[in-house]
Amino acid sequence: MNCKYFQDLLIQLPYHELNREEISLLENHLKGCETCRAELKDNEQLMEFSKILRESIPSDKNQQESIQHILKEINNSFYKPNFIRNIGEITLKPNFLFRAFQIAINVAALFLIGLFLIQQLEIKKELENLQSKIAIQGIMFRQKRLPVDIKEFTNLSDDQIEHLIKEYDELLKENSTILSFLRINYPEIYREIQQNKSIERNPLQNL
């Protein structure tokens, strides 16, 4: 084995980081290698150098001031360990206004969100009403054609038809169709219309 192999072991030797096997391997090599012995000496000097630095312990002259700063910071912080927000413990401390301001902002935000949701619900309701109104208008539009059917397929006079339409308009409010109205109230007219209509649709029926 060449010296390159032992370099990593050599640097660990002064720090007692090698196992027995590695130590004996290295010792055997060191007996016959002057270069590695010189390197070991340099490594021992490096360890001495680190030891001197280790003994010089740096200290903060303003430690108390710095600790006070930390405590002030955590006191001003809204975040507590375990995310406990001691709202119930609020007293007239110097940071009371700051905490009150944060709570007020949270409450205002919640209020605005609530208002927005209520508005959305109201808009939804309005839209539904509008849709049902449009649907009713559509039904009414289709039903307006029915008096023509009555004129066409019955022998009723204009006055009689007018009377029927008036009665039907009243019932329209209850979402009834003119045909169902006739079927219930004037079954003979209804039958007449149905009979005549089917003849027109299928002229072969008369043959």
């Binding site: 640097i11 150098f49 630095l53 280790r54 930390i70 360990p81």
Partner: protein, 184 residues
């Protein structure tokens, strides 16, 4: 301070007791400053990092489990903050010449350096090291921590720690040889 006492202080901190946290700060501040200073080699940066670390400890103390030593957890927070700081700075703020190393007399073990001299020496030796190498060298050779603890702090595998440590030691050794050979 006995472990049981520390654990009871930490339990109080978890409940939001600021007085207990003040005791914790008083007890561990010097340890935190020492390691932070040795990595960053700057008094102001070290102080800022320690303050930031303690605020972080307060906010996340609920996550701390007594299965790990408190110092190990604290060192993890500090070393991560130091690495972030070094990466942001990219280069040393203070300029240090290699003559600073001559202040160290290898034959005189009893010398204690002040913060300024120590910062100059550390800056000089750590100039060519990567952030990871500086942290590992500081934890092992300057703080004297065990490999197992360094593994927990850095979250790195043993082989990576060993190779980084080897590189750091070799780089510093070369620097020392250069300076002391000139001196002799």
């Amino acid at each position: 301070m006995p472990v049981t006492e520390i654990n009871s202080i930490i339990a109080k901190c978890k409940e939001g007791n600021q007085d207990a946290f003040a005791i914790l700060c008083e007890h561990y501040y010097s340890y935190a400053f020492r390691i932070s200073f040795r990595i960053l080699a700057n008094e102001e940066d070290a102080k800022d990092t320690v303050q930031e670390a303690f605020i972080k400890i307060w906010r996340h103390i609920s996550k701390y489990s007594t299965r790990v030593k408190f110092t190990t957890w604290m060192y993890t927070i500090i070393t991560n903050l130091c690495i972030d700081k070094m990466r942001k700075q990219k280069s040393f703020s203070s300029i240090s010449s290699e003559e600073a190393l001559m202040k160290v007399d290898l034959n005189n073990q009893g010398v204690h350096f002040n913060n300024k001299d120590l910062a100059e020496i550390i800056t000089c030796i750590a100039k060519t090291l990567s952030a990871k190498q500086r942290v590992i060298f500081t934890l092992r050779d300057l703080e004297g921590l065990e490999m197992g603890e360094i593994k927990k702090i850095t979250g790195l595998p043993s082989d990576t720690i060993k190779s980084n440590l080897c590189h750091a030691r070799k780089a510093i050794r070369e620097k020392l040889i250069k300076v002391y050979k000139v001196e002799y």
